[in-house]
Assembly symmetry: C2
Homo-oligomer: 144 residues x 2
Amino acid sequence: MKKDHQHSEFPHNVDMAELLRAHGITPTHQRTEIAQILFAKPQHLSAEQILSIVNQDKPVASKATVYNTLGLFAEHGLIREVIVDPSKVFYDSNTCNHHHFYNVDTGTLMDIECERVSLGELPTLPEGTEPAGVDVIIRVRNSG
Amino acid sequence: MKKDHQHSEFPHNVDMAELLRAHGITPTHQRTEIAQILFAKPQHLSAEQILSIVNQDKPVASKATVYNTLGLFAEHGLIREVIVDPSKVFYDSNTCNHHHFYNVDTGTLMDIECERVSLGELPTLPEGTEPAGVDVIIRVRNSG
DNA sequence: CCGAGGTGCTGGACTCCGTCTAATTCTCCG
DNA sequence: CGGAGAATTAGACGGAGTCCAGCACCTCGG
């Protein structure tokens, strides 16, 4: 199969390439395509969803690349992993400090602006550890 | 293989049987054995760990039964599912309102008494939903 | 005592998300 | 150009959890 990593005909890609570079990530065709999907709007997508979206018109990235890329983005703080469902991880393109509603009936994830949750200061951490993130998940179910 | 659901030679089992009945669960040999493991002390075990503990001396319960039982216990509020690691679910025998530290380096889970985390009142829930639980997870990593 | 029906348990096959591997392609720079 | 190192790929693999068809055991009525 022929590849064309170097052709970036969409000006949009340039912005994404800059964004990636700004986070210390070498931009590639696959990475910019995935970044565009993620940053099209604030949303919560699973790896499987991203895999199918990125390849819906023509094959762009393999499963391994999607997983690698999402891990890389999360590692560099571009996106945030949200673990609420044991069966899959969601990736959140909103990295502002915020929390989540999770509807256990529908599997839907919604943001909560952090001002709407008053969380006091952190308790003393266990010996020899440093903070790596705070997740607040409010699980809800349909009342109907 | 011969079964003996009805023989409960350990007085301990009686307590567990009562506990199960009090939560509307029919006590069986497998269920009381699993309950004893869970409630021996406050702890966080995965389904796989429980499976191997319950069968370490002699075969007591199959994988399917362990999963069914843990789901049943969680459904009836005897234990609490803790979802912090995408690769497995932990079951927490402490159902008091509390939160968790999760060490991402070691995979260790620790309780935080709820008094040590000041969490204001819930934000307005999404339309047509009712609360189903609040999880606060403070992720830490080794600073060494 | 017998048989029927209901609940619970079982092992083994199966699914699904995610990871690994070995081989290929791309990029970059001397 | 040419070679080293990074990125990507297809497909095999792994592990947690689910499903299913059949068996074991309990209860109850006759």
